[in-house]
Amino acid sequence: MNASSLPRWIDIGLLPVLNLIAALTVAGVIIAIIGENPFVAMGVMIKGAFVYDGALGYTLFYTTNFIFTGLAVAVAFHAMLFNIGGEGQAMIGGLGVGLVVLFLDSVLPPLLVVMLAVPAAAAFGAVWGVIPGWLQARRGSHIVITTIMFNFIASSIMVWLLAGMLMAPGQMSPETRSFADGINLPLVYEVLQMAGFSVSRSPLNLSFVIALLACFGVWYLIWRTKLGYIIRATGHSERATIYAGHDPAKIIMLVMAISGALAGMMSLNEILGVQQRVILNFTSGYGFTGIAVALMGRNHPIGIVLASLLFGALYQGGAELDFEFQTITREMVLMIQGLIILFSGALAYLFMPAVVRIYSSLRKPTGSG
């Protein structure tokens, strides 16, 4: 018996919740050991993520990053490709945004520049995804290895460019000059304030809406189009795909392009949403966390939105935790995030054998009688 014989609600609902509870329990024990009340800490974290002024906006801002990188991992995973390269693809996506804006912001009107920068993020990310895809499809280089390598290459390229050619003149830090005024995605609080609501300041911007649209797009692609069908077929059985008359190599490259494009669009949130210049390491590990998000969300867009929300809340609430308690340091917060990634990512199926046993023993009496 395996996961496929469990009802869906257990696989995508109960198991992630169990993993989360396990992670929080372990985190709670550690917080108790250092002498704080874990329940109070939990309360602070929840308030920090959702209740305090502007907290929700920040939480959703982080959520946006995770949705993009989580979707990127999920799309590739449907073709059974483990794209670890979200981080690098996001960096290169950001580079794409930067190049378009830096070249054009003095020539074209801001709105037009933004409209060109959005597809540039996707296109640059796609290129960074499709190269490992090509290496896998045509040269048999394993995608896990190549995408990890491409993260390093992307990182080096960014350092080289931001500390060299693209570095703002008269600057000491590795970043580009700021974009011209008006070249940014509309911030949600500004739009809401214009509509007459009083909302506190947060970096939440239009990227969040783009992320939600991307979720729908991915769902539609995977489950409602012939291409999605062929992508899933490739993931399950390459031989069957060849038998059916499709070329798995083409599918692999296409899927890696889509995956890279999604990861690349993460840069919209950070670069075009907030920073308005390209800075080094703006991806700060969101690409890697996307793997945990996709695992926890079971590669389904709805699951990914929920998992992203959880991780967004952890980032924002964790910062609050660091702020409120002297004993709980930033490293401590990272550890809690690490535990959640560990339990919902690496140990995602820790509880499955037990759940399967309990489920089938509960079902047997009704099944046979």
Partner: protein
């Protein structure tokens, strides 16, 4: 029931039973693979176990060989209750096993393979010398001659199997379990195996023969136990039963073992293969100089021991594998190495393909039946042609239609493909391919792992296609299947055609010789081309 049949046959002999299983139960998740299974095997007899795929034979054997432990029940070997926790326990209890897929190291010699795991200390040379001496007495006693210094990979399959038997005997086995031993053998090799089994039996070895071939049960066993859905249906003396009765017990209802061949009138040639040769990237020639044609309204059977190029031939014809030289002509289209055809082009030329391996190719197991039922036909007219959208409703409706006309059970399009039985999975593939109304049909192993009831249905469908004027190419390792369906038979050995014979002019003996590589150059073969 077991004890009654067995004790009646044994008379007053009171020596302990070689194997005695009582009330064995084994559950995997919610599936009960063995339900209160009892088995009594008399020492020095050949005892057959028959049952369809999934009847629980393999589970039972695995329990007996220590791979699984039973949830409940007792095992006694030669009267002694034993707990078999590993195959080492089983070997210690005197049980030897010959697996369907041999467990041999190909580049080791026969001797090295036999002593593997029983090297006799750190001095390999001394151990080997000792083993050689004791093997000599074993081979003489059982008449199992084989060159101990030959590399296993150079031996024919029949001899490799003999090495497996030797290995078990060398480890002191008094009970030998053979799991589907004839699946890879030619008819002649099968006969040799049965001779060996006879000698072993005469020397007091007890043999448990697991098979789905009723003919073999009738030919060599003394007793037979029939399993169905995890339970023992009955234990019989082989002399007092017949294949028809056994088949009925296996399936649970009367079945037709032979749907009845009627000769058909063949029409014009639909597919011509000329000097077809395929060389793999590894340099191995998998097909060499194959020429044949298949006509409207005929079934051309491709016989051969598994792995002699039949699979490659099917894949080449289906466009999956590239031709190295030679041509395949379908209608006006000449497919060559320079002008290859993709699987989708071949499909457009009116060819449909029921692949040999339905798990890896024919279906996508985690897909729903509705999804599997459009595999390769995503862009067919009934799925909306070139439209990029795949409608779940249209897929489900299409699948429902196929299911009702091919009697797929359960007729539930949203059920995952891997939850259907082998027979029903095969019906889904068959329904999908036949509903495209092909002019040429490639069929590989149509009834492998398929229950007897479904075999009858599938054979009838193939005859129906033939009678509608379809040109059918049938690949099967079941010689009986080839013989009962084909109008003509091409025999393959090591990637070469050993000739094409008319079914009416040949018999199983001649085909068996050709399978073994003997070109029976009788004049009537030429006629059949």
């Amino acid at each position: 029931m077991a004890d009654k049949t067995i004790s009646k046959a044994r008379g007053d002999d009171s020596s302990p039973l070689a194997i005695s299983l009582e009330n064995i139960n084994k559950t995997f998740g919610s599936v009960q693979a063995n339900k209160d299974v009892c088995l009594s095997v008399v020492p020095g007899t050949i005892h057959g176990i028959v049952g369809e795929n999934g009847a629980g034979k393999s589970t039972l054997v695995s329990i007996l060989y220590g791979f699984y432990s039973a949830d409940s029940g007792t095992v006694a070997i030669s009267g002694e209750p034993v707990r078999l926790r590993s195959s080492a326990d089983a070997i210690a209890a005197g049980i030897g096993m010959v697996h369907q897929h041999f467990m041999l190291v190909p580049n080791f010699t026969v001797l090295e393979n036999i002593i593997l795991g029983h090297e006799g200390g750190s001095d390999l040379k001394a151990g080997a010398r000792q083993a050689e001496a004791s093997l000599k007495s074993i081979t003489e006693r059982y008449g199992l001659s084989v060159d101990l210094q030959a590399a296993v990979q150079d031996l024919p399959v029949g001899l490799q199997q003999r090495v497996e038997i030797l290995k078990a005997l060398y480890r002191g086995a008094r009970i030998l379990i053979l799991d589907e031993p004839t699946g890879v053998l030619t008819p002649q090799e099968t006969e040799q195996l049965f001779d060996i089994l006879g000698t072993l039996k005469a020397q007091g070895v007890t043999i448990l023969l697991i098979t789905h071939k009723l003919k073999e049960i009738m030919a060599v066993t003394d007793f037979v136990s029939v399993m169905r859905s995890g339970e023992m249906v009955d234990h019989l003396q082989t002399a007092q039963t017949n294949p028809q009765q056994l088949a009925q017990m296996m399936v649970g209802r009367p079945v037709l073992l032979d749907v009845g061949y009627q000769a058909a009138q063949a029409g014009q040639a639909m597919l011509n293969a000329e000097h077809l040769t395929v060389t793999e990237t590894s340099g191995v020639t998998s097909l060499s100089d194959i020429s044949f044609s298949v006509h409207q309204g005929e079934i051309l059977g491709i016989a051969g021991v598994s792995g002699n190029g039949q699979s490659e031939l099917l894949e080449v014809l289906a466009g999956i594998r590239k031709i190295t030289s030679g041509t395949v002509q379908i209608g006006d289209r000449k497919i060559t190495a320079e002008q290859p055809a993709s699987p989708s082009e071949v499909k457009r030329l009116g060819l449909a393909h029921v692949p040999e391996d339905r798990h890896a190719m024919g279906l996508i197991l985690p897909f729903t039946a509705a999804e599997s039922a459009v595999l390769g036909y995503e862009y067919a007219d009934l799925m909306g042609g070139r439209s990029p959208i795949l409608s779940p409703a249209v897929m489900a409706a299409h699948c429902k239609t196929l299911m009702s006309s091919y009697d797929v059970r359960p007729a539930e399009p949203s059920l995952k493909s891997n939850l259907f039985s082998g027979g029903n999975q095969q019906k889904i593939v068959l329904a999908r391919e036949l509903s495209s109304q092909p002019d040429i049909l490639l069929v590989g192993q149509p009834t492998r792992g398929v229950d007897i009831g479904a075999i009858e249905f599938i054979h009838k469908q193939l005859f129906a296609m033939r009678d509608k004027g379809c040109a059918v190419i049938l690949v099967s390792v079941e010689l009986d299947e080839i013989m009962s369906l084909s109008d003509r038979v091409m025999v393959m050995n090591e990637g070469k055609s050993m000739g094409i014979v008319r079914k009416a002019d040949t018999d199983i003996q001649e085909i068996g010789l050709m399978m073994a590589g003997v070109t029976a150059a009788s004049p009537r073969q030429q006629k059949a081309r």
